[in-house]
């Protein structure tokens, strides 16, 4: 895996931003990005989108011999792949630490939590069982892979239906989907993993983006650790904890973990509900013989992706009137003034016309025979930043 | 030379050997397997050598792999003949089931003369390897259900009297040196490894069989970029056999003494890594 470098500038910026109560994309601390689950034409294939993070999961099954120690249980196998598609730093056909870590977490969350009724996958004891294989492929790595991959695994497992089987004497007949209705997998409970980024040992961000993840686990330019870390919590819809994983250099005190668990309990319910609802609607669509296909995912959402502004932070109280006033007025903040919201589409506030920019700049003679362009001095001090979602 | 047996409680047999600066731990694991179709009445034996990076910095990463392979290869060759180690004693049920011995060799510290030390440690570990008795065998169609005795003391020991020892001879100048140190190994361009069968008498005092007292070569191999004149080669082999004989006798005595101590009183443990 190639190294990804994060500039000190970026690090400091994000740290500062978070400490002031904002996030780069304008979310609240405990707000998740938009979650979307799309199913493919086959049973058990889905794409989960969490903001820009996209993960494809596909469940396949085959008949194999059971393991000797568990002769009456089916086998669940989870395989995670991160190809160069996810981000350029990943190399083809090479396992990174991240892949192994992700694989292990998902195995803990779905195999060790015993959420799947493996005994129902048995066909003939000691001879034939179903082996389920979940292939998780990361399409785009926009941060919080763990949560996205776990939702994808859950959704594909819950959506999957295996062919029906009948036994006649010694022989086992596997029916095609056309012959007999396939059977859904039995899930006792629906666990999902959620990630929290911790900044400065105290601030808890749910659903961190790629840059937040990288900043919180890295140290400052002087090599001092910032007390940041990643906390992964696996929880099912009954608010039962099934996985806890701590990462990074944060000193976790029990309060913060507790706080995270409470927050996770809330969102796990929402996520599971969403997944269930999507599966239900998918089922009714299928019953109505409406074709479902990944092609439905193609929209023109990304048409403007190169021109659209992703950042939703902006200079606070950026007002043409203020700017033309003297510097002293500049930082006399009156916080109670309502912020322009991203919904009212008043982009004019953000965009300065050329004329306005020029009005900020003054040409001054400095040394003999030189002139200097000095933009308004007051602006060059620390810019107050606001988040337009609050 | 320091030797200690039965150091790993989970293994069927084990030994730890310290020869000058060389430190080796050997564990023997037993498993049930199906014999090879062309040798239905024999068991199987397999050697694994692990050069831990602790032993010398050169082993870091994959550095030790080649050495590990060549040692395990050498051991496999040395134990190949029935004269050296009779695999028939590992047979449970002809053509159906047999014991398979996994011999794991861990090199903890490397101070020269690895081959010799490994072969000594393996022989010591095999000497106290216990194989559970098979209580009953149930025939069920083509399959066999084995019932093993649960009592760990209800087991048999292996006959390892003739198990081979390897002797490394380093050619330095015109002379060959037995038991070379790491420095001596560095000086020589060619070394000869001779595997010689042991003598049962040294291990089983009441063994009366007069027949096999003679030492035999089970394997010979050369190592290093140099070459030798055939006369030197012949002399070296002879020298190696003599050395192996005395080594074998010493090992036998040490093992017997230790076994008696074990029976006599509670074992005085040296600690795992002294």
């Amino acid at each position: 895996m190639r190294d990804v470098f994060l500039s000190n500038c970026e690090k400091n910026f994000i740290q500062k931003l978070v400490s002031e109560g904002h996030r780069l994309d304008g979310r609240n601390y405990n707000e998740s990005r938009r979650l979307d689950v799309t199913f493919g034409s086959e049973y058990g294939s889905c794409i989960v989108r969490l903001g820009e993070t996209k993960v494809l999961a596909q469940v396949s099954c085959e008949v194999t011999q059971p393991k000797q120690i568990r002769p009456n249980e089916g086998i669940l196998y989870i395989n995670v792949e991160i190809s160069p598609m996810a981000a350029p730093q990943f190399e083809a056909n090479r396992q990174t630490d991240l892949t192994v870590y992700l694989n292990r977490l998902l195995e803990k969350c779905y195999k060790d939590s015993k959420c799947i009724d493996l005994e129902s996958l048995c066909i003939v004891v000691e001879e034939k069982v179903w082996s389920l294989r979940v292939d998780v492929k990361v399409l785009n790595h926009g941060g919080n892979l763990i949560e996205c991959a776990s939702i994808a695994t859950l959704a594909s497992l819950a959506h999957f239906k295996r062919p029906d089987v009948t036994r006649s004497g010694d022989r086992v007949i596997i029916h095609t989907i056309a012959e007999k209705d396939p059977i859904p997998t039995v899930l006792y409970h629906y666990p999902v993993c959620m990630t929290f980024a911790i900044f400065n040992n105290e601030v808890l961000l749910s659903d961190p983006s790629f840059i937040e993840e990288s900043v919180c686990t890295s140290s400052t330019e002087e090599g001092i650790n910032t007390g940041g870390g990643l906390l992964v919590i696996g929880m099912n819809q009954y608010k039962e904890l099934c996985l806890l994983d701590l990462n990074g250099a944060a000193l976790y005190d029990s309060n913060i973990v507790h706080k995270a668990i409470i927050s996770a309990a809330e969102s796990s319910k929402q996520i599971v509900d969403l997944v269930k609802q999507r599966i239900n609607s998918d089922d009714t669509m299928r019953q109505k013989r409406i074709k479902i296909n990944f092609a439905d995912m193609i929209t023109s959402d990304h048409l403007l992706s190169l021109t659209r502004k992703d950042l939703s932070i902006q200079l606070k109280k950026f007002n043409v009137d203020d700017m033309t006033l003297k510097n002293d007025m500049e930082h006399e903040d009156n916080d109670d003034e309502p912020e322009p919201s991203k919904y009212d589409g008043k982009f004019e506030n953000k965009v300065m016309t050329i004329f306005e920019i020029y009005s900020l700049i003054s040409v001054v003679p400095s040394l003999p025979q030189t002139a200097e362009i000095i933009s308004n001095k007051g602006v060059s001090k620390w810019i107050e930043i606001s988040s337009d979602s609050d | 030379m320091e030797l200690e047996t039965d150091v790993v409680s989970h293994a069927s047999g084990s030994a730890r050997l310290r020869l000058a600066n060389t430190d080796i731990l050997v564990g023997v694991k037993t498993e049930i397997d199906i014999p090879k179709p062309d040798k239905p009445d024999s068991g199987k034996i397999e050697f694994f050598v692990d050069c831990s990076a602790n032993a010398t910095p050169e082993f870091e990463g994959r550095g030790g792999e080649q050495l590990a392979n060549s040692i395990s290869n050498m051991m496999q060759k040395a134990y190949h003949s029935a004269e050296a180690f009779n695999l028939k004693q590992l047979c449970i049920f002809e053509g159906k089931q047999c014991w398979k011995l996994y011999i794991d060799i861990l090199i903890l510290e490397c101070g020269g003369n690895l081959c010799d030390a490994v072969s000594l440690a393996v022989k010591a570990a095999l000497f106290n390897t216990r194989i559970p008795f098979v209580k009953a065998a149930l025939m069920d169609g083509g399959n066999i259900d084995l019932q093993l005795s649960d009592d760990p003391f209800d087991s048999k020991l292996l006959d390892v009297g003739t198990a081979p020892l390897l002797v490394t001879l380093c050619k330095i100048g015109d002379k060959c040196v037995v038991d070379p140190s790491a420095e001596e190994e560095n000086c020589s361009v060619i070394s000869l490894i001779v595997g010689v069968t042991g003598n049962k008498r040294h291990y089983y005092p009441n063994h009366t069989d007069k027949q096999c007292t003679e030492s035999k070569c089970t394997t010979i191999g050369m190592n290093g970029p140099g070459s030798v004149v055939s006369k030197t080669l012949k002399d070296a082999i002879k020298q190696g056999i003599v050395a192996a004989k005395s080594l074998d006798e010493a090992l036998g005595q040490a093992l017997l003494k230790e076994r008696q101590q074990n029976i006599g009183m509670k074992k005085h443990s040296y600690g795992f890594l002294k």
Binding site: E52, Q58, S60, D135, M297, I298, H302 | -
Partner: protein, 220 residues
């Protein structure tokens, strides 16, 4: 956004839908559906690669083909090779010596004609990434059914019963054959006829490319 109206008299291709910049982390990406068959492709590069795989003459093209699930196989490597060789003919690699261009293809749905969908999608993703290209290319799949008739863009059912299937790739400049992959047995005449019909159909694909690029270029 299909191209149904263009040439109603000859034949129609399955409706095509395409979206650029589907993946935010890649330098170029495209998702393409041809009928019910869908593939997504990402292009990264030119970027730094290991010195052992660098070439002084041209950029090293690495193509990775990912199936939806299951284990890797020799057949996947074969598809990968078909796509790599085709891209190599199209990309002006000599402009980026000592670098690597990574193309990753992920199959999403297969209802026949997956290979040509992957090839076309790759071409679109390359266009999107801004890598310099000698020409674009278009892939068309056809099948020869039981009775010996040629079916363009066959469906899954067609393929199951087909005597042979062929995939042809044509370049945009001379409209010559770049890649040809066939399966099954067929006579020489059928081959020629199939080739000619695919050749004609490739124009429709090129038109579609133009339309898509126009749409995106307007925004940018």
């Amino acid at each position: 956004m299909g191209i149904e109206e263009e040439k109603p008299k000859a034949f129609q291709l399955k409706p095509m839908k395409c979206e650029f910049n589907f993946l935010s982390k890649s330098d170029g990406s495209a998702i393409l559906s041809q009928g019910d068959t869908v593939a997504v492709v990402s292009v990264n590069g030119p970027l730094d690669i290991k010195s052992t795989s660098q070439s002084i003459e041209k950029s090293t093209l690495e193509v990775l083909y990912c199936t939806k699930g299951g284990k890797p196989s020799v057949a996947d490597r074969y598809k990968e090779n078909v796509i790599r060789q085709t891209c190599e003919a199209a990309v002006l690699g000599s402009l980026y010596p000592r670098t690597g261009i990574t193309v990753t293809i992920q199959e999403l749905e297969d209802f026949g004609g997956l290979l040509s969908c992957c090839l076309n999608c790759t071409c679109l993703a390359l266009l999107n990434s801004g890598v310099s290209m000698r020409c674009t290319y278009a892939a068309i799949t056809c099948a020869i059914d039981e009775s010996g008739d040629i079916v363009l863009e066959p469906s899954k059912q067609h393929l199951d019963t087909a005597r042979a299937t062929m995939t042809f790739v044509f370049d945009s400049r001379e409209k010559n054959l770049v890649t040809s992959v066939t399966e099954g047995v067929f006579s020489e005449d059928t081959y020629k006829e199939a080739l000619a019909r695919c050749h004609a159909a490739s124009d429709l694909v090129f038109n579609f490319y133009r339309e898509i690029i126009r749409k995106y270029a307007n925004v940018i």
